[in-house]
């Protein structure tokens, strides 16, 4: 970094720090975006200059689902090895959020003394970040349909990733999910080092392909892909019947690895973080140890106790997420460990203002397994209708399902807790803003 850059960086950093202090001092908010926004105006090359200083390099984590949990697992693995890590843990994953997170660990002179930076990046801004920033690692988890009102289509996003990654130095390491045909295809055309994670456990195949599936066509030739089986949405073992496109061999043998939390999606998150940590040279036993003791990020299969009742919160933001939450809950319902499920559907900006996606979710198994379903949120009755239309015909006598809609979140939560037997787990399945709300009610604390 030249002297002029250094001076301007110092000025930008000092300003950002002053703003953070003011925002926090006046209790105006968590200051997770604004300082970055202002500092960036003072120094347009701020983000690349911050990237350059991270000793062992920056890790970018992209994907529709699992960014926060995977980042947290990787961070925990690294920290337990004594590494100093910066992470945009607030989930602010647009440019200003990334800058703000890095600035928080920068001293008054603009020096960032960290071994690693782990940055969750919104799928749509990855190309913007890569324009002038050089990460050491990029981890792509999956690409599902999510908030089309914001972003448009899966195909478009992957094409933009491809052209943004292509010019990066060849010593950049790209970790991809081979089970996702779109990402598998992305890797084929890169000159960088590419390593693949995925599942090779056919005994965990779904019995049928869910409705909310995006990518069943060969990204190379457009033919319908042949699936030997799917693990989750369109993630699975596949090959193209009409060209040579097929799932790439894996760099990690999934049956040998345990997993964090519950649900097959967390197996993917575990494998992703484990492969990346191994690539960084972390010892396998150390990784396994962290996996065994890992504690969830807020709302992501997080477990709480409230008034003596055991609660698990399963944030579900899109069709694939909700399908997988329902699958995890149903496994516990069938094992007799849970009978009350509390669905909360909001339609604010972070949730997506369109709630039509709930009709792409296979909610039927949740009703046919019986028990109590309590529904709340801004769109209580939209969700209640979805559940009403999910009931078996005729309704099951053996597994009756009771639906309780209540648009008052507080009293709905009260009902959910009261209905939960002491030896069972209440599952709360909220959208993003609903998760923040319900968590605040349960912990009495506001997060971020």
């Amino acid at each position: 970094m030249n002297l002029l850059d250094r001076v301007r960086l110092g000025a930008a950093v000092a300003t950002a720090k002053a703003i953070t202090a003011i925002v926090k001092g006046l209790k105006l908010g968590a200051a997770s975006v604004l300082p970055g926004s202002i500092a960036r105006r003072l120094h347009p090359r701020l983000l690349p200059l911050l990237f350059e200083q991270v000793k062992s390099g920056v890790v970018l984590i992209v994907g529709t689902n699992g960014k926060t949990t995977t980042s947290l697992l990787l961070r925990t693995i690294l920290e337990q090895q004594g590494k100093h890590v910066t992470h945009n843990a607030t989930g602010a994953n647009l440019i200003n959020g990334l800058i703000t997170a890095l600035l928080a660990d920068t001293d008054a002179f603009g020096t960032l003394d960290r071994d690693y930076a782990i940055l969750e990046v919104d799928e749509n801004i990855l190309p913007l970040v890569l324009k002038d920033c050089r990460p050491r690692y990029i981890l792509a988890l999956n690409l599902f349909r999510d908030q089309l009102d914001r972003y448009g289509e899966v195909d478009t996003i992957s094409r933009r990733w491809q052209s943004a990654i292509a010019p990066l130095p060849t010593d950049t390491t790209i970790i991809l999910n081979a089970d996702d045909p779109t990402l598998n295809f992305l890797g084929q055309n890169l000159t960088q080092t590419v390593r693949y994670f995925g599942l090779n456990e056919p005994d965990r195949y779904l019995s049928e392909i869910p409705h909310a599936v995006d990518s069943i066509y060969c990204p190379q030739c457009g033919a319908s892909l042949d699936y030997q089986g799917v693990y989750l949405s369109h993630l699975g073992d596949y090959a193209c019947p009409s060209c040579d496109f097929k799932k790439h061999p894996l760099a990690i043998n999934s049956p040998e690895w345990g997993q964090i939390l519950i649900g097959i999606y967390n197996k993917y998150n575990t494998l992703a973080a484990a492969l990346l940590a191994q690539t960084m040279g972390i010892d396998r036993n150390a990784i396994t140890q962290t996996i065994q003791t890992f504690k969830a990020a807020f709302g992501r299969a997080e477990e709480l106790t409230y008034e003596g009742k055991h609660i698990r919160i399963l944030l579900s933001k899109n069709p694939v997420g909700l399908n997988e939450s329902i699958r995890a809950v149903n496994e516990l319902k069938l094992a007799g460990k849970s009978s009350v499920t509390f669905l909360i559907l909001n339609d604010r900006t972070p949730d997506g203002t369109d709630v039509s996606w709930i009709w792409d979710v296979d909610t039927e198994p949740l009703t046919t397994s019986g028990g109590t379903i309590i529904v709340s949120g801004d769109r209580t009755y939209d969700m209640a209708l979805r559940i009403q239309y999910s009931q078996a015909n005729p309704p099951s006598q053996a597994n009756p399902c009771e639906l309780i809609p209540d648009d008052n979140l507080q009293s709905a939560l009260k009902t959910a807790i009261a209905r939960t037997p002491a030896d069972e787990t209440l599952h709360i399945v909220p959208t993003y803003s609903a998760m923040l709300e319900v968590r605040k009610l349960l912990t009495g604390r506001e997060i971020l």
């Binding site: 009102d149 009709w359 209708l385």
Partner: protein, 264 residues
């Protein structure tokens, strides 16, 4: 009694919860002991299958998927679909599928795509820099015949609530509009019309789960399908629609339209 639902390209045209309309028709028939079969009208379907359905449902597609549909829905398949709808078979076409039924679609970039020409309407995309039409919608049905047919089915004013998200702007020719916009953009954000109505086919930008929240439209489609098939007017058994009524009331309240809710 049995009804066969023809579902147009279920894997290709199902972007915004569009299968909600199929689920709604299916359940409302089954709750009344009307048997239901779902026929997937996709690439593997024969043209004859287009003739063997009693009600047709179509949803929205992403661009690449829409292209595959347009390539497949040609010749005999297209002719059968057209004659079915011309003969008064009921249908519900949401989100992008009305564009398919129109004369043509002019994308923001690229060439004009011809539609089936069943509806006298055209759709133009004003370019990728023009904001999309996104948000909650409410519109009042305008066809006197449709409004009269709905009266025995639903006590409230015939107001449809839903959600729209479209880049293209649609302009009607001779085809009559489905509704007059109260809240939202409608066909193009200019002339105040929403959707189109041709015989018993409803076309609207309001996507996927249109029917669950507007159950009177679902029942009208079922009733019309039974009339077409069995040539007699069937009085449908009333169902418990209290959740739909509450969902509608919540949206009316939010859109500040509650005062328009009349009860017969």
């Amino acid at each position: 009694m049995e009804l066969r639902i023809g579902w147009l390209y279920p894997t290709l045209m199902s972007t915004y919860g569009d299968r909600g309309n199929v689920i709604c028709l299916q359940q409302r028939c089954q709750w009344r002991n009307i048997e239901i079969a779902i026929v997937r009208l996709d690439q593997n379907a024969t043209p004859e299958q287009f003739d063997q359905v009693d009600v047709i449902v179509g949803g929205g597609a992403q661009d690449r998927q829409q292209e595959i549909v347009m390539r497949d829905l040609q010749g005999e398949k297209a002719a059968k679909l057209r004659s079915q709808l011309d003969n008064g078979i009921p249908g519900v076409f949401t989100c992008g599928s009305p564009q398919l039924l129109g004369k043509y679609y002019e994308p923001g970039i690229g060439q004009r795509i011809d539609g089936l020409g069943l509806l006298d309407l055209v759709t133009k995309h004003p370019g990728l820099n023009t904001p999309r039409c996104i948000g909650n919608v409410a519109f009042e049905l305008v066809s006197p015949e449709l409004v009269a047919a709905l009266e025995p089915l639903w006590p409230e004013a015939p107001i449809v609530v839903g959600f729209e998200n479209h880049g293209g702007r649609t302009y009607l020719g001779e085809t009559q509009p489905l509704g007059k916009v109260m809240i939202g953009y409608g066909n193009n954000g200019e002339d105040g019309w929403e959707g189109a109505l041709h015989r018993h086919a409803i076309a609207t930008y309001s996507h996927g789960p249109l029917l669950p929240k507007n159950p009177f439209l679902a029942d009208w489609l079922i009733q019309t399908a039974l009339l077409q098939k069995y040539d007699r007017q069937v009085t449908l058994q009333k169902l418990d629609d209290s959740l739909a009524i509450q969902a509608r009331a919540a949206m009316f309240k939010r859109l500040e339209l509650s005062s328009l809710l009349k009860t017969a």
